[in-house]
């Protein structure tokens, strides 16, 4: 039996002693994959820093918190946590169907958009298949594509916007199975109006599916989302309770699409994967539109405030239709990374785009006044230290 000493010796010891026995055989694909992490969580950063963050503004979480009705529903559901959640997500799907004016058969609920993206990639992408996305867009989608052996074809941003026409053209040229587009976009916060998105949908080549990630759509101006049309086989829409509903920690996402495609998720999804308490939280949040409206107002005010903080430091905040703001640090990626490090050092958790030229920015999530006060205080020093 493995004793505590082994624990202290760490994993290295296992490679020695375990090496005597042959291990299980991974698939060639699994063997080829790196054990990557799409994002390092703030808790891991806190552990390595040995100090907690004072302001949590890096993961586009909703620092204003969930609906009090959702909190009450979670507390009430806690004592029922001994029961599995309904694997059909019936009540939540019915409520969404009514809210969105689409049939329930056009909706699948899953463990966040992350899980739904994984299921979708699994359904459609295998070794040799091409998938198109923007260079610097959502890494977790790329993680899934790589994880199922797909080949990513990346299209550059066009002036801090994803480029729907170029994405669709690339999908046509590469015979892509999927083309990913976030509207509004993460990490830049930019967006396209419904007309541009509808045009892209019209141009999706036969046999390709547009994955329209609308995680942030509640924060966008009216007219950003084209009408939902579940008769259209060319697009699937991804939405979430993680952002505007403030329930990131509960893992509730949903997708809207043609019922044939939505039904196919039943081939592969973790049927009993949804937390019962999460189902209750999402349902309660959906029934509290006042809180949602209030959250959206507060996010709008926070965006303005972040813009003011940026301006006070001689920096430009990019226009945003999301609950975060990209601040252009005015120089190159190396400089922005130093600014980011300076903020982290000053206990302000923020993140930034991965690729140039977007990596000239840092990305700040909207949050409560106190958190933005800390940002306001830390930014001048971080900029100064960044030289």
């Amino acid at each position: 039996m493995c004793r505590r000493t082994a624990s202290l010796a760490g994993a290295a010891r296992f490679r020695l002693t375990g090496g005597m026995k042959p291990g299980p055989r991974l698939t060639p694909l699994a063997a080829s994959l790196p054990a990557t992490v799409p994002f390092v969580g703030p808790e891991a950063q806190e552990r390595s820093r040995g100090r907690l963050f004072a302001a949590r503004l890096g993961a586009n979480e909703m620092g204003f918190g969930p609906s009090p009705a959702a909190v009450t529903a979670m507390a009430a559901a806690a004592s029922e946590a001994w029961m599995y959640g309904d694997p059909e997500n019936h009540d939540l799907k019915q409520a969404l169907a009514s809210e969105l004016d689409v049939p329930a058969e056009a909706i699948v609920v899953g463990e966040g958009i992350d899980a739904l993206l994984g299921y979708l990639v699994r359904l459609t992408v295998g070794p040799g298949d091409t998938v198109v996305t923007s260079r610097g867009a959502y890494p977790t989608f790329n993680y899934h594509v790589a994880g199922f052996g797909g080949t990513l074809h990346e299209v550059p941003y066009r002036g801090d916007h994803e480029d729907p026409a170029a994405l669709v053209a690339a999908a046509r040229k590469t015979d892509a199975k999927l083309v990913y587009l976030a509207n509004p976009d993460n990490p830049m916060g930019s967006w396209h109006g419904a007309a541009a998105i509808s045009e892209a949908i019209e141009a999706v080549p036969d046999g390709c599916l547009l994955v329209l990630d609308e995680a942030y759509v509640e924060f966008a101006p009216e007219g950003t989302a084209p009408p939902l049309d579940p008769t259209d086989r060319r697009v699937i829409r991804m939405r979430t309770f993680s952002k505007a509903h403030g329930l990131a920690g509960m893992r509730v996402g949903y997708a809207i699409g043609h019922p044939d495609l939505i039904g196919a998720f039943n081939k592969v999804r973790n049927h009993f994967g949804m937390c019962r308490v999460a189902q209750a939280a999402a349902l309660a949040s959906l029934r509290d539109p006042e809180h949602l409206a209030e959250t959206i107002d507060r996010v709008e005010a926070a965006r303005v405030r972040i813009g003011e903080i940026a301006a006070a430091n001689g920096l430009a905040a990019l226009p945003s239709a999301t609950n975060f703001v990209a601040i252009d640090c005015g120089r190159d990626g190396a400089f922005a990374r130093r600014v980011l490090a300076g903020l982290i050092e000053r206990d302000v958790f923020v993140r930034m785009p991965f690729v140039a030229p977007q990596d000239r920015c840092i990305r700040v999530s909207c949050g409560p006044e106190e958190s933005l006060d800390l940002l306001e205080k830390a930014l001048p020093a971080a900029l100064k230290a960044a030289g």
Copy 2:
């Protein structure tokens, strides 16, 4: 846009109108899969019956409920649900490592054993690969194997026990990637002592992995589980907070194995898949061993009571090391299915094994006195109606 009328017309309408556009291309494997459901949930049965169950004794949930400390922790964590859970599950893994006396690197936490089985199958099984299990064992494991294109080789039970020697022999003969064994077993409640399991581990052929599902191990007699040994590459152990900890609805499972294999889960898992509230619940439950001990005592008493109810009806309860009891209805599967239907009709939710000869039994989960009172009352009538 899809109007409410479409909702009323249902999915059929979509096949008509949506048929005009080509759909996305599923992978050949995905296209070949049926849209099956491993289990129909009790809520779906309630909806189709138009009536709630009065006793929920079918899904091996823990009707005695979670630890009050876990309920308190969930209520407290609810207001923090706006934050993603720690993707590393650090605190829970550390607590498990300390509890189990293994290094944290030997533990992976996931969204229930169901999700962990899915990740494991994905890591190891592709089209053309063979997997060995018992005929009539856990269907969700089979669902994952089929879902990744594996070929199932099924070994019969041996007198209501899974047959470790035959399973391992079949794994050798078929060059299997995985061999699945639940100890204690579901759906029969039978078990093997540690020596038999250790023997099976010793006999696992090179390149094969024994998937030892120990979901019910807390209910089993001392000496059922062989010592944990994460230097051993031949076996992975699966455990859960769904059963003895009464947290089925929170989706927290974990696996213990060689750190190389455990590390490989990071290649494919949904890193941000764990609910923050679930992490808090599991941690609090782990810190309440008194409640766990009390639950195990109550389960033992309920097993005795179920045995008495069976005996009072001239039926035999099989010995059980789990939180459920298989009741031998004394005739064939058709008869047991009628008994089951009679119980369901009388608002008592129970399930039963799928295959002969185990399907001569119904499977009753342990639960509170009131639920067993209802079973006691319904069983004679159900037996009589079954003829």
